[in-house]
Symmetry: D2
Subunit: 302 residues, 4 copies
């Protein structure tokens, strides 16, 4: 496996830096685009890594999977009354889609859906971000995971579009808490800093029938773990979920920090990271690395 990782790494290295680092907030724009790391964690607890796999980065939308998992643990199947499970189609109609479907977002991985999930967690925890961070520290076995408060504050300052969606959902009665408070928790979750190694470990329960071998806990049931994977497979990669399924064939979730996690059910959890993004906001080198893995190992679930 380590040899294979080296092959893939060398294959993709020339692409690193192609694309554009996220720049909608200054704190993200200053990241060095030439970083690139891969970590693979097996259900047996083996760790394989290469490149900048120990460098922490802003996990951004990858945090949506952790929030979702926390909400599933508490609300179970009831949570699907407030958020759908369907892919979302075009980005341009995110708001009209909320209108058309009476304030129920299409899935928990579009922003509107993740904000509703944050609202669910806000109703349950006194400090939802701390609860989430503790949860992720446990899953990854890394008690030192930190929140980048500069990033969180900067996201909040430019919250307007997300605030618009939250208020629109509130107008349909699909919101329980203060929009401002929920957005603060939501942005803090996005601003968590983790390395490829941290994320490969923290996501292993999804490859392992819901069981985390690091914290020795059944995080969610086997069926629920497969369901989270199914949601990642159909909606985890922004407006590229279909192409990603087509090219890579694994459930995956990306973030604008340049990280992508992917699950090989019953076997491995993977995290690749490189900050430069393609047009739809996924890591260019990250997608290429996962395509290369699929070609070399034939991991597609399909």
């Amino acid at each position: 496996m380590q040899t294979l990782l080296r092959t893939i790494y060398d294959d993709v290295k020339p692409l690193v830096g192609q694309g554009k680092v996220a720049d909608y907030i200054p704190a993200l724009a200053s990241v060095n685009p030439h970083q690139f790391g891969i970590a693979i964690y097996s259900n047996q607890g083996e760790l394989f890594q290469i490149g900048d796999a120990d460098v922490p980065f802003s996990i951004q939308s990858i945090s949506k999977v952790f929030s979702l998992t926390l909400a599933i643990k508490h609300y179970g199947a009831d949570m699907w009354q407030r958020v759908g499970r369907e892919p979302s189609g075009l980005p341009f109609n995110s708001l009209v889609q909320l209108e058309y479907e009476n304030g129920i977002p299409r899935n928990p991985f579009i922003n509107a859906g993740a904000i509703v999930v944050s609202d669910m967690n806000q109703s349950r925890f006194a400090s939802p971000h701390y609860a989430m961070r503790e949860f992720v520290r446990r899953l990854s076995g890394n008690p030192d995971l930190k929140t980048d408060q500069v990033v969180a504050d900067s996201e909040y300052e430019f919250r307007h579009r997300n605030a618009a969606m939250a208020y629109l959902m509130q107008s349909y009665g699909n919101f329980e808490n203060s929009v401002e408070e929920v957005l603060k928790s939501y942005f803090s979750n996005c601003a968590l800093r983790m390395s490829c190694v941290d994320l490969a470990k923290a996501f292993n329960f999804l490859a392992n029938k819901g069981y985390c071998s690091i914290s020795k806990e059944q995080v969610i049931s086997e069926q629920e773990a497969r369901q989270v994977n199914a949601l990642m497979a159909t909606s985890g990669m922004y407006d590229e979920a279909g192409s990603f399924a087509f090219q890579v064939g694994l459930p995956g979730k990306s973030g604008v920090g340049g990280g992508i996690v992917a699950i090989v059910p019953n076997r491995f959890s993977i995290c690749v990271w490189s900050p430069a993004l393609n047009k739809v906001g996924n890591s260019s080198a990250g997608v290429a690395a996962l395509e290369s893995m699929t070609k070399h190992i034939g991991w597609s679930v399909y």
Copy 2:
């Protein structure tokens, strides 16, 4: 397996007839809703069946997978310049989506996409419907498969919405042949009559790395077969693809005739059929049967 099939059949039997038979054309509206069949075909050539698994029905949108396979055989990866691979979001905006994306339909399983695929096949075959029927006869090993011309004519008579989409694509230059001719081929393909047994056999190549053990041919490459499965997984079940992935976890394709095919990669191809449809147009009993299988056997790919 046969015992299991009996359990599932008995589980789901009480649901048969719930919902509504497709009635947008008279020829489909008169089907008896109380029919229900299941067929499973293994990569080793074993056939398991129960109920009305030998009764032919109108395959409708299931034909889109055959047309797509024919187009892939001829055009390979080039075909993706004319049709996308992303899930499509809301049904209400199918036309605005075509406008927004310059006449390129989102995927080959929405009507606009399947019509473009038919246009590709029209450019290639003198008689595209006959070519397609011969192809399917070969895959299923059944030389007697027939087209229901009454259904095909009736669909053509009520072609207006599909004609609107075809003309809109033509206005963007994404159409090569006469709209009327292409629609005739397209509706003839939809009007093919096959049984659960026929379909389970004809779809086996997608479970078997692109190889059809009945006709002894490599239909498409292993990678292409996985890609077709990926497309079914993200876009095969109308506006229920996400829920189907969530609940069943298999690539699937449904038709308004009440049939659903599903693929267990590397192992089985399945066809369930019952004519009464749920709100989004998928067979109610069919979806229930596949959910029951997933629960009993744990076939989810995720």
Copy 3:
């Protein structure tokens, strides 16, 4: 004229109460639907009135014309960089329209447009609502006009949809002040209480080439007055502007409190009021009364 007013009043009286009083906030829902009044004020200072023409009611969206006039006085033609002058089409796409046109609302009479106009006035006045109320007291010659604080507070409590639009405009850079502060001013303006007589007087400057004969001031230029009338003619009646032009043929502006003002250029300003609304939110009896006037007097500008 007074005889004519009696004829129209008797004609329309049977329709009074048909439709539904606005009930999205409790404070409006409790209004007696059987009230009906008409006031006409001529450029020569003659007042004609009938029915409940002296009863104050919540002017609601009629206030948008006053806010617009204040903004025109200060910003002149520059203001049209931040808000358009085109009719808005379907209500369902108000948010997607803002997205499509980069946060520039179509006209100052849809909510998004009126909120941007309020934002302009917020940048200019320390207390924009008091400035507006003083302005209207002067135009109407009634120093006792009051704001219904219960209505204003209730609107603010249910501000979510308007807040969504304001935040969306802010995400496009078309907002200068705090969303919360601007909405408070906006709702206070809507909650002003005026009678038909007050409104007929306060709007007379639009019939009189921009000159208010009550306050003896040139409020805006003749050209600007005609332009405000043109905006009312194309966009003043929610999703009924076209029908209103077709049936009545006068520039008009309605509010969900049941009031409608209309302008007969160079001659009269009119206000009709009856709280029960038709499907698009205009006073049923009010529209009928204006249609009856047009039929009896031939006041259409077209």
Copy 4:
């Protein structure tokens, strides 16, 4: 008046040729953009003209007013069950608007609406284009008006988008005849060639309470004439109707051939023509000429 016409002509002359001649079909693209004419016809039968006012050009969408008038003559108020009277908002959503409103176009001046009006006339006349041309010859007093068959054929060849709309309306049951036949009539109407003088005369009945002093006939009732003017005022100028009302203040109808007709109710009918178009498809010099008239003469109806 003739002096005034000279002033306006000299004012606007420097703008002639600015913009872009319609080029979606070759037959229109070859028109010399430097032509410019104005004709004014009074209700008393006086004719004022300047520049290229006798040169025939393709009337294009101006023909929609003639078709509408013919339909009103036959169907009266019943026709409004098949087409609306509201402005249409954004061009990008013409198709989704038809979907949202069940195949009823918003007004008779958008393409979908004009095509439905053509379908009405098709149901009534054996040769709807000849009927229309005879009607216009009578109104203008010019028996030599001709159809440019090259233009009509070319429009038909590029009919795809209009065909898409017609088929979509047919899918909603709002179409009575063959799509192909109706489009042929529709394009022939658009391809009629008339000069400014012809059009000023032919439109005079709308300024003259429905009476044509040339053919000595009451074309439609006074009320109907005002209603047609109201429709032009709210929807006659593509996506510039609001600005045109704001700047010019007259009911108007434009065509991509560069012509614009405008009505001064009870006094004059006007036609200006210059082929170069602004961004929304209205004659640049034509709009400027009408703005200049409004400034010099104060003809705004508002």
